[in-house]
């Protein structure tokens, strides 16, 4: 991929779509969760995804990360049509994800959680863990991003919720090569910890190296983090709004009015 990208003329790299979703649908039995999603994520962009519970945000993220597979529609990464049959397949395309339910292993120490799925190994095919190397890099990295844990040898079971969240986000930020998907990275976090995660994501975004999709319910956070915001309702994307063309107040108003329209539609249908 990088070879192709280098061959392209460098004109307006910020507008290049790194990810396109076209008409993606997903059913779980009789339940239709996604009803034709169209979405574009451009190079270096931070895209916010909002919507009420059950709008399909997490399902969309799980399709993009290879955990679920869409029923119809296309996912295009870097101009190439892809279908991810596994998390590894998505990862091979440089996509990393932080899930709502925190993919940490309680019984493993912090440093192994940070490297889970990307373990450093030695002795070639025997794949012995390079524990010393992983401990050292973990300490260094967590220091760099101001995440404080009692010890990188502490089992994640022994950490607070916020610390665990920080570890999960830090792992994905570290590993992401092209696209980072964040499913409610600030859920259940205190102000100081939220700040930490926001700064971490902003730092990554400012490099322009990685494009980011973030799901969150806090408009103020999204407003600070994102370049663009998409609103999801009932398995569709209903609004696509550039953040710099709007204000937090306008955005909030937009959301509220669209919810109101939705509620009216539901009550009209009921009447």
């Amino acid at each position: 991929m990088s070879v192709e990208a280098a061959a392209q003329p460098p004109a307006a790299p910020a507008s290049q779509p790194v990810l396109e979703v076209r008409g993606v649908t997903k059913r779980f039995g009789a339940l239709v969760v996604l009803r034709g999603i169209d979405l574009v994520l451009r190079q270096g962009e931070v895209l916010g995804l909002v919507g009420d519970n059950g709008a399909g945000k997490s399902t969309l993220v799980k399709i993009l990360s290879g955990f679920h597979q869409q029923d119809e529609g296309d996912v295009i990464v870097g101009g190439e049509r892809v279908r991810f049959n596994s998390v590894e397949a998505a990862r091979a395309h440089g996509i990393e994800t932080v899930y709502q339910d925190l993919a940490l292993i309680p019984q493993l120490p912090v440093y192994l959680n940070l490297f889970l799925g990307h373990e450093l190994t030695k002795l070639g095919p025997l794949r012995f863990l390079d524990k010393r190397g992983m401990r050292r890099l973990s300490r260094q990295y967590l220091d760099d991003i101001n995440v404080h844990v009692p010890s990188v040898d502490a089992e994640t079971e022994q950490l607070s919720g916020g610390q665990r969240q920080a570890i999960a986000v830090a792992r994905a930020v570290r590993a992401a090569r092209k696209i980072l998907l964040l499913d409610e990275p600030l859920a259940a976090m205190g102000a100081r910890e939220s700040r930490l995660i926001i700064d971490l994501v902003k730092d990554l975004a400012s490099t322009g190296r990685v494009s980011i999709i973030v799901i969150d319910h806090n408009y103020a956070h999204l407003f600070e983090l994102c370049d663009r915001i998409n609103v999801m309702q009932g398995g569709r994307i209903t609004t696509d709004q550039q953040v710099h063309e709007t204000s937090l107040e306008k955005l909030t108003e937009l959301m509220v009015s669209s919810y109101r329209r939705q509620i009216e539609a539901v009550s009209n249908a009921g009447a």
Binding site: A103, L108, G117, T121, F128
Partner: protein, 350 residues
């Protein structure tokens, strides 16, 4: 452990929230050692049993005959327990490896009787054992059958196959069992060879579980199945491989065991072995909840059961008492581990 943490095990009633008494510092350290080194408890119990039987039975307990018979009890249990630990850490279980332990040498015997060279017969028999493990694993992960059920069924299937193809007749002599060369001694006729095989696979599996990427994947899969899958751990593949490994180890030591005793009895039932093996894992400090387990502990658990059986026989206690004692030790070990986990939980939090 935090300085302010109470030390309930050393002095539950006397713990005050104020300044901890300096004399308890040592006690707390010892407690912490036991909390984090779960193998220590069964080691101490084994040493205690050893001392008790040495006092009661004198030098007859420590002579070669007695010790080798203790090792003879411990060998099969240990071989099966060491593989079982991997599955218990995965939050799975394999009830068929006891029967694979018996099935492996039968396959070797049949292949050799049909004219296959001995080395080829052994290798092919081991391959068949691996295949049985792979079937266990694939049925479990692909058809979503609980491994308890898959392997219980496999146990009956293998038992039946042995009865059918042996025509219900014992087999002897087993190849190598009547020789006196190096290969015979290596493969089982030397009294210590079986337990040394078990020790060797224990060390290998302990390294696998604690030092390799595959071991980390086992712990991750057992500790948080969905989380591990989301992080990119190929959880199904990890599970299938562990079923294959445990089946291979059981078949391998099963062949050594058959050479050691020189005959095969189709009436032997694998469940007898598997229940001791799971007991050995529990005594060694492995919970059945997944994510935690110790291979060394399982080996020590097997040694403990071997010493107990040998010692009780020597001091003239009937085998009926042995069963009661094994049961008591298993419950004691499990309860102790549960309490240790509670203590660990109390030292947690921020």
């Amino acid at each position: 452990m935090r300085p302010g943490a109470p030390t309930p095990a050393t002095a539950p009633a006397a713990t005050s929230p104020g300044q901890p008494h300096p004399a308890w510092a040592l006690g707390r350290r010892v407690l912490r050692l036991f909390l984090y080194q779960r193998e220590l408890t069964p080691v101490l119990i084994t040493i205690g049993l050893f001392a008790y039987f040495t006092v009661r039975a004198g030098s007859t307990f420590t002579d070669q005959l007695s010790l080798s018979s203790a090792a003879g009890y411990a060998g099969p249990i240990g071989a099966i327990a060491v593989g079982e630990v991997l599955l218990l850490v995965l939050a799975e279980i394999d009830l068929s490896t006891g029967q694979i332990f018996l099935f492996g040498p039968w396959v070797e015997y049949w292949l050799h009787s049909d004219g296959l060279p001995l080395v080829a017969a052994i290798l092919l028999a081991l391959l068949v054992c691996c295949g049985v493990g792979a079937i266990n694993g694939l049925i479990t992960v692909r058809l979503n059958v609980p491994s308890f059920v898959t392997t219980l069924a496999m146990n009956f299937v293998l038992f039946g196959l042995v009865l059918i193809y042996s025509n219900d007749a014992q087999a002897s002599p087993i190849p190598l069992s009547d020789g006196s060369g190096f290969s015979s001694k290596l493969m089982g006729t030397w009294v210590w060879s079986e337990i040394l095989w078990v020790l060797a696979i224990t060390i290998l599996m302990a390294v696998l579980l604690t030092r390799t990427r595959f071991g980390t994947r086992i712990v991750a899969t057992g500790g948080n199945l969905i989380g591990a899958a989301e992080a990119g751990v190929p959880v199904r593949r990890v599970k299938v491989w562990c079923f294959v490994i445990s089946a291979f180890l059981a078949g391998l030591v099963g062949i050594v065991d058959a050479v050691k005793y020189g005959n095969l009895d189709p009436g032997n039932f694998g469940v007898d072995y598997i229940l001791y093996a799971v007991g050995a894992c529990v005594i060694g400090g492995t919970a059945l909840t997944g994510g935690r387990g110790t291979v060394i502990g399982a080996f020590i658990g097997a040694i403990l059961i071997g010493v107990l059986e040998d010692g009780l026989t020597l001091i003239g206690v009937s085998t009926n008492d042995f069963y009661v004692w094994v049961g008591v030790v298993i419950i004691f070990a499990m309860a102790l581990n549960a309490q240790f986990d509670r203590l660990l939980a109390r030292t947690r939090g921020t």
